[in-house]
């Protein structure tokens, strides 16, 4: 047992290095969500209120997407200690991810009672591209997933030890996940229902524990239930529901060409469209080839699992089907129910929304790995050695490719998605703001087309450490993609002689789409900002008529 603990400690250390090392530089910039999370947490630290002046809110309005509270409140200690910067914003996620490593070992050990499988599963989690990717920036998905597996672990400990403490902890963790990320609002209630049915014979004999568990869940969930059903959160659900998917509206129901009636009604097609989306999560390319979307579409980046885990997943599935495995039904139900929220949203596949099924899948992979090792040791010495060498080479090659994707291709190809350049442009504006009467920032950017929408006002607030009290009191004109407060304006730039081209004492920041280089004089260009791959992404100009 001691040697397993030492190994787990080593794996935790390794996980920490992988998750913390240069996490302020890679991903290459704070994205829209991160600056929004960070500024709201900063506002809480200084005033106890969010950016709109709401006192300790349960839901943060933010940019109209009504963010969950846990990621923001989790940043409060780090921002208090280290100030508002990239490190303090990303610290909680990386820390939770690192500390989840030994907890994951205990989780698998509790479920399967097999230390070897638990160790293998833990090792797979340390190098899991799915877990690693979401550990390196603010990730409500990862936090919620961690709370869920701790909740399930506590639930099983409760059934084994009959101690109320584990029941309360389980309820706390499961409900906390609902306050962390939206898909959990669908998953957790369904999963709790399943747990109650699955363990019904246990609860018949231990009603007291059931009562404590239920009360914990209910008390913690009441505020959120109210907000979900009657508050503005429902707007968020409508925004991302599968019926808003472009593929569905444009190509399936043809922009409502024929609504039909009864069995011909277009809403019935949504059922089959949803089934298609659900089964998409079992595709090999999503699981092993490019599911993380860390490189350009149509290329082989990284799947949510390493490719060497493909045979492990197959073997593990066969083990799960054919052998007596503890809590088999729970593992399967977790995966099947866990995919419901992700499949009901308007994305082809979302690695973030489906992250909550990572624990049971890794458990299956670990079972497969153990089966493979058992078979390996039945071989003759020479054959075993050859196969071990081949496997090691395969794993090394896979991890080498993972390393290259993380360190080179992801920053090169996806820097725009992480709004690289925003910080640089805002810092320039802040350093020169006295020289201008107005700072105009065009939010539309992108390499292929101006289809990436930034929220520059949040970057402005973040990097200027804007006083939240001042921000509340200022008149803010927010209207779709426009914003205006103080000197700062967010709107489309109209670089024509009769419009913005002739304005004096104004600093313009925009992409080459709104500030075409051929229409700019050399003297007007104050700064050019490039992505890591060398492509021009933003220009800072002032008109010189």
């Amino acid at each position: 047992m001691k040697k397993y603990l030492i190994l787990v400690l080593f794996l935790t250390l390794l996980a920490g290095i992988l998750r913390f090392y240069k996490n302020t530089e890679n991903p290459p910039s704070l994205n829209n969500d991160e600056v929004a999370f960070g500024y709201n947490a900063y506002s809480i630290v200084n005033t106890g209120r969010d950016e709109y002046g709401e006192f300790l809110p349960i839901t943060f309005k933010s940019v109209g997407d009504y963010k969950n509270p846990v990621p923001i409140y989790s940043m409060v200690p780090s921002i208090f200690l280290f100030g508002l910067n990239e490190f303090s914003v990303r610290l909680p996620t990386a820390l939770i991810a690192t500390l989840s490593i030994p907890l994951f070992y205990l989780f698998i050990l509790t479920i399967l009672k097999q230390p070897m499988v638990a160790l293998i599963g833990t090792a797979l989690l340390v190098i899991s591209p799915w877990h690693l990717f979401y550990s390196r920036f603010v990730s409500d998905h990862l936090m919620a997933m961690t709370f869920i597996f701790i909740g399930v672990w506590s639930f099983i400990k409760m059934t084994e030890s009959q101690k109320i403490f584990w029941g309360v902890l389980s309820g706390l963790m499961l409900i906390l996940s609902i306050y962390t990320y939206y898909p959990e609002r669908l998953f957790v209630p369904l999963f709790i229902l399943f747990l109650l049915v699955y363990f019904r014979s246990y609860f018949r004999k231990h009603r007291q524990i059931l009562i404590f568990f239920a009360i914990t869940c209910a008390l913690l969930a009441i505020p959120l239930i109210y907000f979900t059903l009657f508050g503005p959160d429902i707007a968020r659900a409508n925004m991302v529901f599968i019926s808003q998917d472009i593929d569905y509206t444009r190509y399936v129901i043809l922009d409502h060409l024929n609504r039909g009636f009864l069995l011909s009604h277009e809403d019935l097609l949504l059922i089959f469209f949803w089934i298609k989306r659900y089964l998409n999560y079992f595709q090999i390319d999503y699981l092993f080839l490019n599911g993380l979307n860390m490189t350009k579409s149509g290329t082989f980046g990284l799947g949510v699992f390493n490719i060497f885990e493909l045979p492990l997943l197959v073997l593990g599935t066969l083990v799960l089907i054919n052998e007596q495995i503890r809590f088999k039904g729970l593992i399967v139900a977790w995966i099947l129910i866990g995919l419901l929220p992700a499949s009901l949203t308007n994305n082809e596949q979302s690695a973030g929304r489906s992250l909550l099924i990572l624990p049971p899948l890794l458990l299956i992979n670990a079972l497969g790995a153990k089966k493979f090792l058992e078979w390996l040791f039945t071989l003759k010495k020479v054959a075993r050695l050859c196969l071990i060498i081949v496997c090691i080479l395969f794993v090394v090659m896979t991890l080498t490719q993972s390393f290259l994707v993380f360190t080179v291709h992801f920053p090169y190809q996806k820097a725009d998605a992480f709004m690289q350049g925003s910080k640089e442009s805002i810092l320039y504006a802040l350093n020169h703001q006295e020289e201008y009467e107005e700072i105009v920032y065009d939010p539309y950017r992108g390499l292929e087309a101006p289809n990436v929408v930034n929220i520059p006002h949040m970057y402005y607030l973040f990097y200027s450490h804007y006083d939240p009290r001042l921000y509340w009191s200022e008149v803010k004109n927010f209207n779709q993609d426009k914003a205006h407060f103080g000197k700062f304006s967010v709107r489309r730039i109209n670089w024509r002689p009769e419009a913005d081209r002739i304005r004096k004492d104004v600093l313009f920041i925009g992409s080459p789409w709104s500030l075409p280089e051929q229409d700019l004089k050399e003297a007007e260009i104050l700064k050019k900002i490039y992505l890591q791959n060398g492509k021009l992404i933003l220009l800072i100009v002032t008109p010189k008529p």
Partner: protein, 386 residues
């Protein structure tokens, strides 16, 4: 001898009734839009292309339904022998390819005759071998892929001890003679053979793969990781990944049971209704545990080969050849259900299938032509309604 009881007749009437409803709706929505006609292989090679008229698949379909019934009579023992022809009859995969005059409907008929011949070979030796020889000959003359697959298929039969060399001697000799004959024509018309093979085998025609390798290596070189990139991001590894991706796409349930890959490039109809998916998975699982079933698995892989060789990830037109294997797995799943669970489980599945059948019929009637029109596909040689 075939026994035609009144119940058999009624069931067949139901099967054909449902088939013609779906076929009629699809024809009304799409006809005369067709796939670019494909000439028969041997005639194309000889310089005298022969193309089937548009009504050929309509006739062939009727024989396919009967053939599937005859095959399942040999394999399965009770009323579930009507399931394979029913699945075939009500699957949009069949109706869409029929209306589009796909040659693969015809090829499937010949494959079914070959398989039937193999099954009855033990009981009616001469008739079985004649069916096998006849169908294999026509297949090899008709399709470039069958020219490759038939000899390999016979090899699989011998290798897996599904029959002995002595028993199959007439088939082996006839196949060998046809192979020599076709190779002779290929040698005579080498350019023609190359053109045909180039048009059929487009596995690595996608330039995006090579471009992405070069781009990745370029980026790694800039950051000083060129050696590592050469090791882990070379064309051999990427080709292997592409191989795995393509293979998995052919056999993925979502390809066959959902509109993940659009039929004829535009449709929202599933090739096979999703209600059959649990039965297929269960049948496949049970089959993989069966030693005899596993011996027939290589045939399924051979039938995937034409789609695997296409330019796109999946070509549902070519993948149609795998249809009988899928149907037989579904039936195998039903056959292995425990009696008690069978009633409940199958009732739910019947409801889902019936529901999807009705919704699909209405959808084809209301929206399918507009989807086709919107897609404006170049592979169709005739576009628009009369």
């Amino acid at each position: 001898m075939l026994k035609w009881s009144s119940s058999n007749i009624l069931i067949f009437l139901l099967i054909f009734g449902l088939h013609f409803i779906l076929l009629g709706l699809t024809t009304n929505a799409l006809f005369p839009a067709q796939l670019t006609p494909q000439s028969l292989f041997a005639f194309d090679l000889a310089g005298t292309p022969i193309i089937f008229p548009w009504w050929t698949p309509f006739i062939v379909n009727i024989s396919n339904i009967f053939l599937l019934w005859l095959i399942s009579k040999k394999i399965f023992t009770d009323r579930i022998r009507f399931i394979p022809p029913l699945v075939y009859a009500i699957s949009p995969w069949v109706t869409y390819l029929t209306v589009a005059n796909s040659i693969y409907v015809f090829l499937l008929c010949l494959i079914l005759i070959f398989f039937l011949g193999y099954l009855i070979f033990n009981l009616h030796g001469k008739l079985g071998i004649v069916l096998m020889i006849g169908s294999s000959a026509i297949l090899m003359f008709s399709s470039f892929f069958m020219f490759l697959i038939i000899p390999l298929g016979i090899g699989v039969i011998l290798f897996n001890n599904l029959s002995s060399f002595t028993n199959l001697k007439p088939l082996i000799i006839s196949t060998f003679i046809i192979l020599l004959f076709l190779l002779g024509i290929s040698f005579y018309n080498q350019q023609g053979f190359l053109n045909i093979s180039k048009s059929q085998i487009q596995f690595l025609e996608d330039p995006a793969l090579i471009n992405s390798i070069q781009e990745f290596q370029g980026e790694s070189k800039k950051e000083g990781y060129y050696f590592l990139s050469k090791l882990a991001e070379n064309k051999y590894i990427y080709t292997a990944k592409y191989f795995v991706l393509k293979l998995s796409k052919q056999i993925a349930p979502s390809t066959i049971f959902t509109p993940q890959e659009k039929l004829l490039g535009f449709s929202f109809s599933s090739p096979i209704f999703v209600g059959f998916l649990p039965l297929f998975l269960f049948g496949l699982y049970k089959g993989l545990s069966d030693r005899v079933f596993r011996k027939y698995l290589p045939f399924a892989l051979l039938l995937i080969f034409p789609s695997f060789m296409s330019k796109s990830l999946v070509d549902l037109n070519r993948l149609f050849l795998i249809f009988p294997f899928v149907i037989l797995c579904i039936n195998y799943g039903i056959a292995n259900l425990q009696h008690k669970t069978r009633i409940v489980f199958v009732s739910l599945i019947i409801f889902l299938i019936f529901f999807q059948f009705i919704v699909t019929c209405f959808d084809i009637k209301l929206r399918e032509y507009e989807r086709f029109d919107k897609a404006n596909l170049s592979l169709f040689s005739q576009i628009g309604k009369q």
